[in-house]
Assembly symmetry: C2
Homo-oligomer: 355 residues x 2
């Protein structure tokens, strides 16, 4: 391969590798944290209604309808809402617009593995901060003098939730830098302990959410960020210097209807939570250590069986889960909470494998 024409940044990139999207049917797919339920029927209807001649016209570059729905859901102003093509695109803009500073940014050693990739892409220095032995974020380890702080809550791939009181302590101690709470999985926290209510008091707080998991719309690519209008303005400037229309007409229509269908959201999130609690018990009864999870996945290890071997054996039975070859967690498997019949298939397969 000739790299003659490449910009310098390209040579140094080690791109993110998303969880596999196999093209085989009949798999029990528990590897990318998708919601086991279909999207809201109202969202389906809204997308159907949007398909037609108007697709010849550009979408609203500001996606105002969607911003209004999100603002209403969270009881904040529209100018406190930024929307993008999945939370991955939102996060990319966040790194470039709010986390690129002379001092290194901080994130946990075990976390979403896209963060260091964004740092490479935008030439941002970072330091990782070790989770505790039980894989908890210790806010006192995030010392002021950083260029920003980011982590998911619940954290991925551990599933562990940090309390709002701890987040508030972190925000107060780091008022000179932006703290980004990536709430991709917050919908599955029992009491939905989102940090959004703290936005009113902390101008350095940015909360990122996505419809991919919470609203079963991974296939539609819609994410958003909430924060003080000054933070949102920075994101808008970068977005409008990158791509005027990241959300197509169908995504705007579907996401708006999904956000507004709060009854369906509540029903499906409770179903996932119930399945998670049951699956945790089932795996504990098979001697797995299961980290306490408030996400739509669990992070487990078996005291006697190698994780990559277990993943391989599951795969032979058409069940795919995610294994990260990474220090500290190489003996863990991350398992998405499927529908009850998928969870049952997993437990049955594990019972066979463990003998």
């Amino acid at each position: 391969m000739s790299t003659q024409y490449w910009s310098n940044v390209v040579d140094k990139l080690t791109p993110y590798v998303p969880g596999e999207q196999p093209k085989l049917a009949n798999l029990v797919k528990l590897n990318t944290n998708e919601n086991p339920y279909p999207p809201s029927p109202l969202a389906i209807e809204a997308m159907r209604g949007e398909i037609g001649a108007n697709l010849r016209l550009y979408p609203d570059p500001n996606a105002d309808r969607l911003k209004q729905a999100i603002a209403a859901l969270h009881g904040i102003g529209m100018q406190q809402v930024f929307v993008g093509n999945g939370s991955d695109e939102v996060l990319a803009h966040v790194f470039q617009a709010l986390l690129k500073h002379p001092q290194p940014i901080l994130f946990p050693d075990i976390t979403y593995s896209f963060y260091p990739v964004y740092c490479q892409l935008y030439d941002i220095e970072y330091r990782t901060v070790a989770l505790s032995e039980s894989f908890e974020i210790r806010v006192d380890d995030y010392r002021p003098g950083n260029g920003g702080i980011i982590f998911p809550n619940p954290n991925a791939p551990t599933g562990r939730l940090l309390t709002l009181a701890e987040i508030e302590r972190l925000l107060a101690a780091n008022s000179a830098s932006v703290v980004v709470i990536d709430e991709a999985y917050i919908a599955f926290s029992k009491n939905q302990t989102s940090a959004v209510p703290l936005i009113a008091r902390y101008p350095n707080l940015l909360v990122v959410q996505t419809l991919s998991k919470s609203h079963a719309l991974a296939g539609l690519r819609v994410g958003y960020a909430l924060g003080h209008a000054d933070l949102i303005e920075a994101l808008e400037r970068v977005k409008n210097s990158f791509n005027s229309y990241p959300l197509d007409r169908l995504a705007i229509a579907g996401a708006t209807a999904a956000i507004e269908d709060t009854a369906y959201f509540e029903k499906t999130r409770q179903a996932v939570i119930a399945s998670r609690e049951a699956l945790m018990k089932d795996l504990q009864s098979l001697d797995f250590e299961v980290l306490p999870s408030q996400a739509n996945f669990i992070f487990v290890r078996h005291p006697k069986r190698d994780a990559s071997e277990l993943a391989k054996s599951l795969r032979e039975r058409s069940i795919i889960v995610r294994h990260f070859k990474q220090p500290r967690i190489e003996q863990f498997l991350r398992i998405t909470i499927g529908a009850d019949e998928q969870c049952a298939a997993l437990v049955k397969a594990l019972r066979e494998i463990l003998g």
Copy 2:
């Protein structure tokens, strides 16, 4: 506004301002170069078929189906195709991956006004090269020793087409840098003189196209780049360090079907070309100077009437066209080729205004 938390780059940005997307009905909207015809019925059908429970699943991050269709259309390999969320996103990645070099890049003084914005976003130095007095690109003015070259062909907002022979001369003279031909409007060139066939012989050529105008899918956000596999690999690395899934399931399905419906494409492009030729004559009969256009818009000026005044008068009659307050072209209007009844409404209004 407090900019305390902003990265340095944000302060310096002057974001791109897209053409207005007014929320009023009953406008004759000739300001953003949308196709006057609806998308292919097969594309509509494909999108309808994709709406359902599977939207809970992530899309194919590589959009292989779509890449296959594009590769087949152009008679090239899949590894020579890059796809993105509209050609604006594709261009953003092109600037970061292939146009950021120690030497300044070159583009015309009158061209797509997003180019200098990308340069700001990625801190890329550029020089503009003046078009001729008749607004033509003179390839001899693009001297080797540059960091790259980019322009639309047909150029925007002039509509003028550069011949393939001239493009080949440019490619040969600048073999040390990437030459990007932005073919957003090439579908409306009578003989479709795309530079794609030159890809096989020039590893420094990248061609960018979009379905927004050519396939009446501005509302769906799909663009692509074609070139040597080494150039495409650079784009893939940046894309996979930015957002794994920029194309949602509906966009992949709709774009694939639209690309495959070559009969509908040919029919609608010929209709737009015929309307353009008729409108050019009508405006010439109203004393307008009309630049020769091979795009789905025309660029016109009246010898006796101020362009911004004309735009204002048209707007009062619910007809919107685009006016750029920019040296050399401030007396021009860019007018999208609408359906015949829209063109007729425009001509009637202009006749009234000119008295």
